[in-house]
């Protein structure tokens, strides 16, 4: 195995494990922490694809900001372990498990047995693609309109948050 392959597979295994633990673990804080671990593995995968900017921004936005707020909420609500919410196995869960397995087999059949992924040769300019300069250039020329639309969306979200936060709630007994 080459060095890249070792890095790739360890990132894949750890991120898969972390994603699984997000769902399985009973304590909400542990779930949040596993999600952060998962984000780090994803950022590592971006790095192996030479997308440095996306990798770092992924960490700043998701791990550095959004997950902090998640932790904030979980801590303030003081959620207990979800032992009370333990679900019973009924016919619905069995059906869900069966369907998921079927879906997995289907995916496996389509992508691995029927059409094995061809090895795509590395594009000569692929080293450029992930850099800040390239992204900046392309965002402000080719994709300027969607980029500006996104900023309007974000402004709308910010104004919405401010309006909600300013709202005075009447306390009724």
């Amino acid at each position: 195995m080459t060095f890249e392959e070792i890095v790739f597979w360890s990132l894949v295994l750890v991120s898969g494990f972390a994603a699984l633990m997000v769902v399985i673990s009973r304590s909400p804080i542990a779930s949040a922490l596993y999600l952060i671990l998962n984000f780090f593995c994803l950022a590592g995968l971006y790095l192996t694809l030479n997308a440095q900017f996306i990798a770092v921004v992924h960490i700043i936005v998701y791990a550095g900001a959004i997950m902090v707020l998640f932790l904030f909420v979980i801590m303030l609500l003081n959620l207990q372990d979800e032992t009370k919410l333990r679900e019973r196995m009924n016919w619905k869960s069995f059906a869900a498990i069966a369907l998921s397995i079927l879906f997995l087999i289907e995916l496996f059949y389509i992508f691995i047995i029927k059409t094995p992924t061809p090895k795509i040769p590395i594009h000569p300019s692929s080293k450029e693609i992930g850099t800040v300069e390239y992204l900046g250039k392309i965002l402000f020329t080719e994709f300027l309109f969607p980029f500006e639309l996104t900023s309007i969306l974000l402004i709308a979200a910010i104004i919405g948050a401010v309006v909600l936060a300013k709202k005075k709630f009447e306390l009724t007994d």
Partner: protein, 346 residues
């Protein structure tokens, strides 16, 4: 082989220097505070108290490690580790010198010269909040929790103005590579003022400096551990070396923050006026290294002096400054810089 060995050697050297500097920074802080308060300070262990740090570390190692009964044990131990790792790993992208030639081989004096260096540092500092928040939550103590929550609110608020105040520099340098940012700061304005960003971006520098104080939880922004209100804040329930790790992390992040300030605003390793003397390239490399070290020490001393002269802000004052003064100022700075670049003045 050299590809792996060279970074490892650099990491070990940087880590060693940082750790030594941390232990002496504690001593310097105690000495400076003593002189400010008209005392003498630690002077019993070794000559002039120079071995005080050794004694402190030994004491921390031998102290009993107490974990509260209802604490979440794993996260309680994980939190100080996160703090320390984040504080030290930031140094990986900071260039501490230009190039040095040893035995015929040229070495770059930076561990990782990445394309998005500025963003890497912002990402790592934004992760520092986890150590504090998690330690506050896992201790199962109301003062710790309050300290943790305060710090996350404070760090998120000041990260914004910190990031925006940097964009002015990025506009002028047109690169996020820290080596590039330092290289651009060579030369002179009007032939005698060093071309450092502090002279080109004074408002950005002040905003960044204040935000750094808030990010490193130093006085006058040390609300997360305000003794009078919160006992010890987020590390109330820590003892022994785990407490020592938080202490280490605080001083290590002070060092990396100073190095970051020096790199961005104070010319990094650029030593002004050395090209007028006929030094050999090796001596120039050494002088640049020491220029960086002296600047970092100077900023560190400034941090310490501020701590012992300015009282702590109230929490609402802190939030008001962050959102209503710093953020609009940094946006204004950004717009003015962009305009000046547009009409080709900067």
């Amino acid at each position: 082989m050299n590809l792996i060995l060279e970074p490892i050697v650099k990491i070990l050297i940087v880590l060693f220097i940082n750790l030594t500097l941390v232990s002496y920074l504690v001593l310097i802080e105690r000495k400076v505070s003593a002189y400010i308060q008209n005392r003498i300070g630690p002077n019993r262990v070794g000559p002039w108290g120079l071995l005080q740090s050794v004694a402190d570390v030994v004491k921390l190692f031998f102290k009993e490690d107490i974990v509260p009964k209802d604490a979440n044990k794993f996260i309680h131990s994980l939190a100080p580790v996160i703090s320390v790792v984040v504080a030290f790993s930031t140094f990986a992208v900071i260039p501490f010198g230009n190039k040095i030639t040893l035995y015929g081989n040229e070495y770059n004096l930076v561990i990782a010269d990445v394309n998005v260096g500025v963003l890497v540092i912002l990402a790592l500092t934004s992760l520092g909040v986890y150590g504090i928040t998690l330690s506050g939550w896992s201790s199962n103590n109301k003062y710790s929790l309050l300290g943790g929550l305060r710090s996350s609110a404070q760090m998120i608020s000041y990260e914004l103005s910190m990031g925006i105040s940097l964009i002015g520099i990025l506009l002028m340098t047109q690169s996020m590579r820290l080596t590039q940012i330092v290289a651009e700061q060579g030369g002179y304005i009007f032939g005698f003022i060093p071309n450092w960003n502090i002279f080109l971006q004074p408002i950005g520098f002040i905003i960044f400096l204040v935000s750094t104080f808030a990010e490193t939880n130093r006085l006058p922004f040390d609300l997360p551990e305000a003794e009078e209100e919160l006992v010890g804040g987020y590390h109330t329930e820590y003892s022994g070396m785990k407490f020592g790790l938080f202490f280490l992390a605080e001083y290590a992040s002070m060092i990396t923050a100073s190095a970051f300030i020096v790199t961005l605003f104070l010319g990094g390793w650029q030593a002004p006026f050395i090209e007028y003397f006929n030094f050999s390239p090796f001596v120039i490399s050494l002088l640049q290294l020491s220029a960086f070290a002296i600047k970092v020490l100077f900023v560190l001393l400034f941090f310490i002096l501020i701590r012992w002269t300015i009282p702590r802000f109230r929490y609402d004052q802190l939030m008001n400054i962050g959102w209503k003064v710093m953020l609009p100022l940094s946006l204004l700075n950004l717009i003015v810089t962009a305009f000046l670049i547009l009409i080709n003045i900067l």
